[in-house]
């Protein structure tokens, strides 16, 4: 007979993950500093909720069992090789912040020439500003976001972008989150806060990359607050190695007439999960939440999104397109809530998956919850194979079958990228995707 588990005793995996949190290590005194209160809230919330299991609806298709089995420790500086990190950074004409295992790295970052009215700071330095401290960790109710709670329990670094009323960031801000575990499995918790003032404008690109080595577990939280008439382009690239867990919780809140243009391109070889919560908390908001993913080898991509129409007269558009090869799995769960107040809502959602192998799997779960009576909402999901007519047309022009298939796969994903409104970012992601797909033309993805 096994002994009954003590109530509230965390499972060992969670206990181990929390060991790396500031103020929780053995022998340390009471947790201090401006972020201590948030950390303790986060810790309490994640202890109450536990690590998610597949019994919880939002986690139905993504298991953390493999993650549980790894003995994680917090980041250390051991063996960090700056030249190697630097060489791995993707290139984009942008201001750059490098979060190395979640830590704002001042040497690798480049913020020279930021325009007036724009601040980019390590989060702890920004906490003296009450506009920042009041907003941080306010967008995500920790009670129903265990991974965000786990992140918050570790909150002692990260980056703030703040654009004042009427100001614009003249180039994208590129936040490169690098996972680097030269010796032992490393968990870390990157944190990003974006605040746009009235009529402010910015483009933020997140690149989540990793260097080969021991496994990494990256647990990111992004919060973005868009004041009236502000515009945020928010684009994300996931491209981590096979031994990685790249999880994130992103919450965006839009006030009247704000425009949010979001896109996630998932190309990693490991486990990826993006929990995105977009709240249209104003009238005439335009919310766009799009993405493309390429599953290959045994990678796993889960996009679980929640679009909350809280006020009348706003529009949302959501298109996720995925290609699933080998033994990969793609998950899309898209919920749209239209609250009683949100009359004249216009919301459209589409998920299209292309299965390239018998062992690949696609799961698509749309969910519309509508409480207003005057709305236009639609959703659609298709899962299919490559089109025989298209394949024959290409072959009848002399293109061999493997190249024809590669062309159609590339076209399917490239078309999704057209949703990205910022042209320079669209082009950069286009090139990145083309390079990643090149092996398809030469026999198979690697």
């Amino acid at each position: 007979m096994t002994e009954p588990v003590k109530e509230h005793a965390p499972e060992p995996a969670l206990e181990r993950l929390l060991d790396a949190a500031p103020g929780t290590g053995a022998g340390e005194g009471a947790d201090r500093g401006p972020l201590a209160k948030l950390r303790s809230d986060g810790k309490r919330a994640v202890l109450a909720a536990g690590l998610p299991t597949q019994k919880s609806e939002p986690w139905k298709y993504t298991s953390l069992n493999a993650l549980r089995k790894i003995e994680w420790s917090g980041p250390t500086a051991d063996g960090a090789d700056f030249a190697t990190v630097q060489a791995a950074l993707p290139d984009l004409d942008a201001y750059t912040v490098v979060l190395l295992n979640g830590r704002f790295d001042p040497v690798l970052s480049d913020l020279a020439g930021l325009p007036k009215g724009v601040r980019v700071l390590p989060l702890p330095e920004a906490m003296s500003d009450t506009a920042v401290s009041d907003t941080l960790a306010s967008l995500i109710p920790l009670g129903n976001a265990p991974m965000a709670a786990l992140n918050t329990a570790h909150l002692d670094d990260g980056v703030l972008l703040r654009v004042d009323d009427g100001k614009a960031l003249d180039k994208p801000l590129h936040v490169i989150s690098v996972g680097y575990a030269p010796s032992s499995p490393t968990s870390f918790h990157p944190r990003i806060l974006i605040q746009l003032g009235e009529n402010a404008e910015a483009v933020v690109v997140e690149s989540h990359i990793g260097l080969d080595g021991a496994p990494t577990f990256s647990n990111t939280v992004v919060e973005a607050v868009l004041a009236p008439s502000s515009r945020l382009g928010h684009y994300k690239l996931q491209d981590q190695p096979a031994e990685s867990f790249d999880l994130s919780t992103t919450a965006i809140r839009c006030a009247d007439k704000a425009v949010y243009d979001g896109f996630t391109l998932s190309l990693g070889r490991g486990t990826m999960r993006n929990d995105v919560r977009l709240t249209l908390d104003g009238e005439r908001v335009e919310g766009r939440l799009n993405g493309a993913y390429l599953g290959h080898l045994s990678s796993h991509v889960d996009n679980t999104t929640f679009i909350d129409h809280a006020k009348p007269n706003s529009t949302s558009r959501e298109v996720f397109k995925g290609v699933l090869a080998d033994a990969s799995r793609g998950v899309f769960q898209g919920k749209i809530l239209v609250r009683p107040d949100a009359q004249n809502t216009d919301g459209h959602q589409l998920n299209k998956s292309l299965l390239l192998s018998d062992k690949a799997e696609a799961d698509s779960k749309p969910e519309l919850e509508i409480y207003a009576d005057d709305v236009r909402c639609s959703h659609g999901a298709t899962i299919g194979a490559l089109d025989d007519d298209q394949l024959f047309y290409l072959r009848a022009r002399g293109i061999d079958a493997a190249t024809a298939r590669a062309m159609l796969v590339q076209a399917f994903l490239m078309e999704a990228l057209d949703e990205i409104r910022k042209v320079s970012v669209r082009d950069a992601l286009h090139d990145h995707l083309a390079a990643r797909l090149q092996p398809l033309f030469e026999g198979g993805l690697a």
Partner: protein
């Protein structure tokens, strides 16, 4: 030796016999029209020659340029110079016309063992071809056939044919869905591509296209067999008296 020799060709689709013994010889430089009522096997013949899956050859043989055509994959047939202008050109979202054609041309060049074109060389080459046909090349910037009108689709097929320089062009109902102006543009393109090295098989239900693309020979296909062959006057006879008359005479 003839460029194309079809001997007693039988084929079926989903177990149903469609072609029931076709015999046809086409010399280089000739234009042959194949006419016939709906369901006679015209499109099946074009797909069998192009190598489409699902069209099963159950008898006979096709010798093309000295080779057993039926043994080749569709892409090999294309690289050997067989071109099918589709009745319903397929839309391929996300693939630009230029990219598509460059892949096609380079596949053929690779097959022939000549250097592939780079992007710049290719654009120049295509512009030249479009100019020869008096056609704008702007549709190549768009995704292949996406949002094209019926006329644009057929014009695009003709431009592809010019670019790929086939030895044997099979035009499957190229006139279907075209108004008279679009038909003239396409016919002018096809005529510009006639030459002593190139044979054409023009498959059509109506005589109208043959006013513009005048054939050397006309064959009537009915119930999977060629029941009558003649010169261009046969097409006029069909136009005047209808298929029923010929079918009765052959019965």
């Amino acid at each position: 030796m003839a460029l194309l020799e079809i001997r007693d060709l039988h084929a079926e689709v989903d177990g149903k016999p469609i072609l029931k013994g076709i015999n046809l010889t086409v010399e280089a430089g000739e234009v042959h029209a194949i006419m016939g009522p709906n369901g006679s096997g015209k499109s099946t013949l074009s797909y069998v020659l192009a190598g489409r899956d699902g069209y099963e050859v159950t008898g006979g043989e096709v010798i093309y340029d000295g080779k057993n055509l039926l043994e080749l994959a569709p892409e090999e047939r294309a690289c050997e110079g067989v071109f099918l202008a589709f009745q319903y050109p397929v839309e391929i979202p996300g693939v630009a016309g230029t990219t598509f054609l460059r892949h096609a041309v380079n596949a053929k060049r690779k097959y022939q063992g000549v250097p592939e074109y780079d992007a710049m060389e290719f654009v120049k080459f295509v512009r030249g071809k479009a100019k020869d046909l008096n056609m704008p090349d702007d549709m190549l910037k768009r995704a292949v056939n996406v949002g094209f009108s019926g006329g644009e689709k057929k014009r695009n097929e003709t431009l592809q044919m010019a670019v790929l320089e086939p030895k044997l062009a099979i035009l499957d109902e190229t006139d279907s869905g075209l108004d008279i102006d679009a038909l003239k543009v396409v016919a002018d393109g096809v005529n510009a591509l006639r030459g002593p090295e190139r044979a054409m098989l023009v498959i059509t239900h109506y005589q109208r296209l043959l006013d513009y693309v005048v054939p050397d020979k006309v064959h009537v296909l009915a119930n999977g067999r060629i029941i009558k062959s003649g010169d261009k006057s046969l097409a006029l006879e069909l136009e005047e008296r209808g298929y029923a008359h010929i079918l009765e005479a052959a019965a």
